[in-house]
Point group: C2
Chain length 127, copies 2
């Protein structure tokens, strides 16, 4: 039987992405965020398969976009059997501008080794 | 017990979107494509909630973009309990150009009234 996590469990993983990855640049922390065979579907690029490739993707994307921080907010969570579907918003701070980039996303969550992680991650611009 | 559909069942629904909706402009056919409380997350816009609003969205989006046809291809399907996660590609033909617009998408499928339909639909550009 799968234990459905509360908002706190999702928030814990999302904080790893905010603090360790986007602010501190610790891409090894993505091991605690994405499942091993996760997929990420960034706008303007092909699908990225597997956690190692996703780590490489974020490393170059943060540098290329000059991302200084990312703030994730959960809008809605639906549980289906042993997965969760999260809809959320990300607010990105980017170097050289005070403007924020607003993104909306869908993340499919799955348990791996007892922890809830991102199994499918796709996003696009709000405006 | 949920019956997991084969590729043929998904293809049947996807063909409704291709033929009835994008080619013939029959937006009432979206009742057979999206669940009643579906969500669509188009790039460059806010999330669209509910089938009626999604019908209105597609009507204006097809007109605004000059979409003549859409060809959907399933890349991958994963079943989780009573839902399916489809990754796919859409090739859009647009008025006034021979160029194709290539899109990748994630659709969460759910059963409604015995039929498999799109419950969450999000996409972004490939390039």
């Amino acid at each position: 039987m799968t234990t459905i996590p509360g908002p706190h469990d999702l928030a814990k993983t999302n904080r790893i992405f905010e603090k360790d990855v986007s602010e501190k640049g610790d891409y090894s922390a993505l091991e605690r965020v994405y499942t091993k065979d996760a997929r990420a579907l960034p706008p303007g690029a092909e699908t990225v398969h597997g956690r190692e490739n996703i780590q490489a993707f974020w490393k170059q994307a943060v540098a290329a976009m000059g991302i200084k921080s990312a703030k994730l907010s959960t809008v809605d969570v639906q549980a289906f059997g042993d997965i969760l579907i999260e809809e959320g918003r990300a607010e990105l701070s980017v170097s050289g501008t005070d403007a924020r980039v607003n993104v909306k996303y869908i993340v499919v969550w799955r348990q791996e080794g007892g922890a809830w992680k991102w199994h499918v991650d796709i996003w696009n611009a709000v405006q």
